[in-house]
């Protein structure tokens, strides 16, 4: 009994410590590691060269395409907020569905973005057309 009480309080501490106030901590860390060099810590990109993620109309208009872009990259012209970009982005194939979901939710809730939270199962569905990597975890 005493043991399980210890265990419970330990679990509670871990639970609260890991939650803190920001829910997309993993997304934030992954963003820093994989996206920030190009899209910048403030999501502004590099004018004319790398499109912004902060306030990007593409996210609300083409949200379903985003998971595949993160996984496989994208080549060719794309238009974001009326401006054309043509820099190749390399994909990050090692990311799992969960990780991609967390990155998207970090982007959706950062830098003034106020886009809906996406669910993991939704992302799985959006990844179907670009099924190179099927790792769920």
């Amino acid at each position: 009994m005493k043991n399980s009480l210890y265990l419970l309080s330990f679990a509670l501490v871990i639970f609260f410590a890991s939650c803190e106030t920001y829910p997309y901590q993993q997304g934030k860390i992954l963003y820093t590691n994989f996206c920030e060099n190009c899209h910048m810590a403030d999501g502004t990109g590099l004018v004319g060269v790398i499109p912004p993620l902060a306030g990007a109309d593409y996210l609300s208009k083409n949200g379903a395409a985003v998971p595949c872009i993160i996984r496989n990259g994208i080549k060719g012209e794309m238009t974001i907020n009326g401006r054309t970009y043509n820099t190749e982005m390399v994909g990050i194939e090692r990311l799992t569905e969960f990780e991609i979901t967390n990155i998207i939710n970090y982007i959706h809730t950062s830098w003034g973005n106020d886009l809906p939270i996406v669910e993991h199962l939704q992302v799985r569905e959006w990844l179907l057309p670009c099924q190179k990597n099927t790792k769920p975890f």
């Binding site: 060099n37 910048m40 004319g48």
Partner: protein, 205 residues
């Protein structure tokens, strides 16, 4: 208790000392000093170079005659630090856009891919012109040889992302070809300090 106070005071004194050094009016001459023609010690001097910019114009030491410039090394397809350093170079560009005594010089480390045409598109996309910000290309060996002159690193390395290992430093060169300041081009706060150094240099007599 006294002991702690002593340590604290010593730390404060050292800190104060550092601050004084930093806030001195004169920027230092950086790099390894060289021996001049009469055996005297002269500050490190950027040697002669000649490259071609995004408008197919020759860029050499004469291009910067009587001017200071900020130099860096990058390549367009660089997946790591280059977009960040380019962004900071752009900040410097925008801040000193109307200052005729300062120009910018970006050396590509991948001249095979970053041709005059590619650099021209890159500059166009950034919205900058060749009379202010020169993106130069040339013989790879000649470019790599310049990197250490600017206290920078440029090495081919298949292990590094993009195949090139390089530092993201921005280097301030004065009108006498001496290095006067540098910063880490991926750290906006360091670049703030660097831009103050640029102003300091421009105010030098």
């Amino acid at each position: 208790m006294m002991k702690y106070l002593f340590v604290l005071l010593t730390a404060l004194a050292i800190f104060q000392g550092c601050q004084n050094a930093v806030s001195s009016d004169e920027l230092p001459m950086l790099g390894t000093p060289e021996v001049g023609p009469n055996g005297e010690e002269v500050p490190h001097t950027i040697p002669d170079f000649s490259f071609m910019d995004q408008d197919s114009q020759v860029v050499n030491n004469e291009t910067f005659a009587g001017k200071a410039y900020v130099a860096d090394f990058f390549f367009i397809a660089c997946p790591t630090i280059c977009p960040k350093t380019s962004k900071q170079m752009l900040r410097i560009h925008d801040k000193f856009k109307d200052e005729p005594r300062l120009e910018l010089l970006g050396h590509t480390l991948a001249p095979k891919y970053d041709t005059v045409g590619a650099l021209n598109r890159y500059a166009y996309n950034l919205g900058v012109s060749a009379d202010k910000w020169h993106f130069v290309t040339g013989e790879q060996a000649a470019i790599y040889k310049m990197a250490p002159e600017y206290m920078s690193i440029a090495l081919n390395d298949d292990e590094a992302p993009g195949g090139i290992n390089h530092s993201g430093y921005l280097i301030l060169v004065d009108k006498n070809r001496h290095i006067r300041s540098f910063c880490n081009g991926t750290e906006p706060e360091d670049v703030d300090r660097f831009m103050k150094d640029i102003e300091k240099l421009l105010n030098e007599k």
